[in-house]
Symmetry: C2
Subunit: 207 residues, 2 copies
């Protein structure tokens, strides 16, 4: 389903969204993304933007609106949303909001392979992680507070609230994990210690 979309890059969704307001040229789209803070939620890359707009145009979701220049600035091409584009926008949002998709965060990968390091080392690294997470947390709460103070409605900060919630969960999980590793009472701490040097035992998998 997800891969059946002619444009899969989420940057494309943002483009459709902004163009649903008014026609714009790629560079202006990039500016909006940065100003609105949506670049924090959607991976933004100057090059990719032009790429994605091109893809959207090929798929018929956007069309060249006019090509001109403003003042003495370089020439630019303004794109506008098509009807197909408007449909794609709502359909895409429906999919993303309605059905969770399996994802692959880097930390999950690291957790699944961490047995390759000795336990004490992992515990130390996780402690470093905790301080870095505290920094991230401060950044987000700061952003939320200053935004609220500037009168930005809460509606435009939900993604940060979500991130904050996930962050707190990660902190709690990491603390528990460190405790499990350092506490010699748990069963797998000794298993791990015994195992080391042979990181992956031939354990029969579930199925």
């Amino acid at each position: 389903m997800a891969s059946k979309r002619p444009v899969s890059n989420l940057l494309g969704l943002a483009v459709l969204c902004y163009l649903s307001e008014q026609p714009l040229h790629p560079y202006a789209l990039g500016r909006m993304l940065r100003q609105h803070g949506d670049a924090r939620s959607i991976k933004f890359n100057h090059g990719s933007l032009y790429m994605v707009v091109q893809q959207l145009a090929r798929a018929g979701f956007v069309a060249e609106h006019e090509t001109g220049r403003e003042g003495a600035r370089p020439e630019h091409t303004v794109y506008a949303l098509t009807d197909a584009g408007r449909l794609e926008l709502t359909d895409w949002l429906h999919e993303l909001l309605g059905q969770p998709r399996h994802e692959y965060p880097a930390f999950v990968a690291a957790l699944s392979l961490m047995a390759a390091l000795p336990p004490a080392e992992v515990a130390g690294l996780l402690r470093n992680r905790l301080t870095a997470l505290a920094g991230q947390r401060a950044e987000i709460t700061g952003l939320i507070e200053t935004s609220a103070a500037n009168g930005v409605p809460g509606l435009f900060l939900i993604e940060e609230e979500y991130r904050l919630a996930q962050l707190d969960t990660e902190v709690a999980f990491t603390e528990r994990l460190i405790a499990s590793i350092t506490d010699p009472g748990t069963d797998w701490a000794l298993f791990w210690a015994g195992q080391h040097g042979v990181p992956f035992p031939a354990v029969a998998p579930a199925e």
Copy 2:
């Protein structure tokens, strides 16, 4: 930092990890990944595997060990970890465990753009999401239980525990969000309703 690595694909990390045990050929690596359940944590693609092994070889992290055949099966090339590869493995794991990196989950993107849909629609979609999340939750708990019953040590299931924690947080967040949307008492519900038709107001950003 992260982008300075000659091989950035996390599949490469898994390859280094498995090869730290014993030399293997790409197809066998893929089998391990699936059997160990690590394919749930690391995006796995048949084609990418050969790609990544090639990249690792070019970077000097793995080297051709021998090339032969087993039984009447097609010929295959076995790769082994080099010293540089072993260093890269530990360094990479250190980075991933020690420092969180900013990521871009699809749901975050959707949240930041959901204002483009009318609030009632979003609430309905989020309710769908909740049932799907319950399904995912059941899948994970099932996997953890059967694995534990089969004697797989907890150490090899932490990534699922992490996912579970994040999932629960997402459920709680989604429930709260639905409540905020449907409750007419919140400030931004009416803001949203009033705003619709003009999805993105010209709100002055924080900085």
